[in-house]
Subunit: 198 residues, 2 copies
DNA sequence: CTAGTGACGATATTGGCATATGGTCACAAC
DNA sequence: GTTGTGACCATATGCCAATATCGTCACTAG
């Protein structure tokens, strides 16, 4: 994990993350100081730096946590899918719905994610990689069952789909596309499914 | 035309636009004052306002001009296309190449376009509408010739394609996708063409 | 050794004030 | 009528000192 320090497993690290999540969510990243976090957990500011390289590293941790939840939401939506097409549709809808909810219900955390996307933080890279893995599994299953075409190289297919969905998957871009949810992503998903037809 | 005033055809209007283009390009929108423009054309600042509602209206004009050139670049690329698929590919590649060139060669003007996209200025709406028209013409021709499928409603097809290509067509989003040009858009175009297959 | 901190330097950030800028208007010249 | 402007106001911007914040380090306690 980038930006970490000291003992990997440690109660204080968890306390820091917990306090950071609460503060970032309520006051925003910019308006909370690491002194605030220190006060919240009852230690000195210097002690925080035994566990994290920087304030930004704490931001990374919160962002990773947040994106993890968004991703989990998409992953969970897959279960209800009856076919691989359906699973693909539900996966994207799930992720997008969770992202949009984050935007409306927890704007401060959303802004961290958007900033992370802009700066290409590892948490966003990891999030995209996991999305790609999940997508790949669905498509391979669909190819196996004859639901999808098999000619196009699998990696190109996955990359292309994620690029096409980028406007809705990437928090930085999604925020400019909120007004036509969920219709717009549905249109692109339909296009993607047409492109997957055997 | 939004933000305009006074005589539609007028030499001074053209002078203003010309001076604005030169100044915005060299110093940026923020760093050029309307007094600068007035001085450049040898009139008083007040006279500028006989032709434009606001400084932003001048920015709109420059942005419209810039996007017009980008669009024209894409439109011109179509001519060399041998098939409708080829035309579609060339159109997007042309637009994206022109946009990228603008980014690297005329960053100041690019920034105006990106800002316009963020604020949904009419010039950007018009640009997207023209792209949609052009795309629609190509697809209809392709449907006519049997090159493309005909089941999907034409408007949904066009909207979906533009949404899928948005990351590269929209200046605001393109700037985050410059590092993998032209491979990344090519992947999405391939996906789009697969989705159009009969 | 581990847990923990106060004090410190370097760098952001803020608040207020002077100035610059966007935009209007009444008016002059023709 | 059209062409053109200086003077003006309200707001935005730039600037600079005071302050706040980040991050480190030497150090203490057990």
């Amino acid at each position: 994990m980038a930006g970490r320090r000291g003992p990997t497993e440690h109660g204080v690290r968890d306390q820091i993350v917990e306090a950071a999540r609460a503060h970032f969510s309520r006051f925003g990243y910019g308006k909370t100081t690491v002194a605030d976090l220190a006060k919240a957990i009852g230690f000195s500011k210097a002690y925080i730096y035994k566990f994290f390289d920087s304030k930004q590293a704490i931001g990374q941790a919160i962002c990773a946590q947040t994106l993890e939840q968004v991703f989990a939401s998409g992953k969970a939506s897959i279960a209800e899918g009856k076919s691989e097409s359906d699973k693909l549709r539900r996966f994207f809808n799930g992720v997008i719905a969770a992202s949009a909810e984050l935007f409306f219900e927890d704007k401060m955390l959303y802004d961290i994610a958007a900033h992370a996307a802009e700066e290409r933080w590892p948490s966003v890279i990891a999030y995209m990689e996991r999305a790609e893995e999940t997508l790949k599994a669905i498509i391979l299953a669909g190819r196996e069952s004859g639901e999808f075409e098999r000619k196009t190289p699998i990696d190109e297919t996955c990359e292309a789909i994620l690029l096409a969905m980028q406007s809705f998957m990437n928090p930085l871009m999604l925020k400019h596309n909120l007004k036509d949810l969920p219709e717009d992503p549905a249109k692109v998903i339909n296009l993607v499914l047409r492109s997957l037809a055997p």
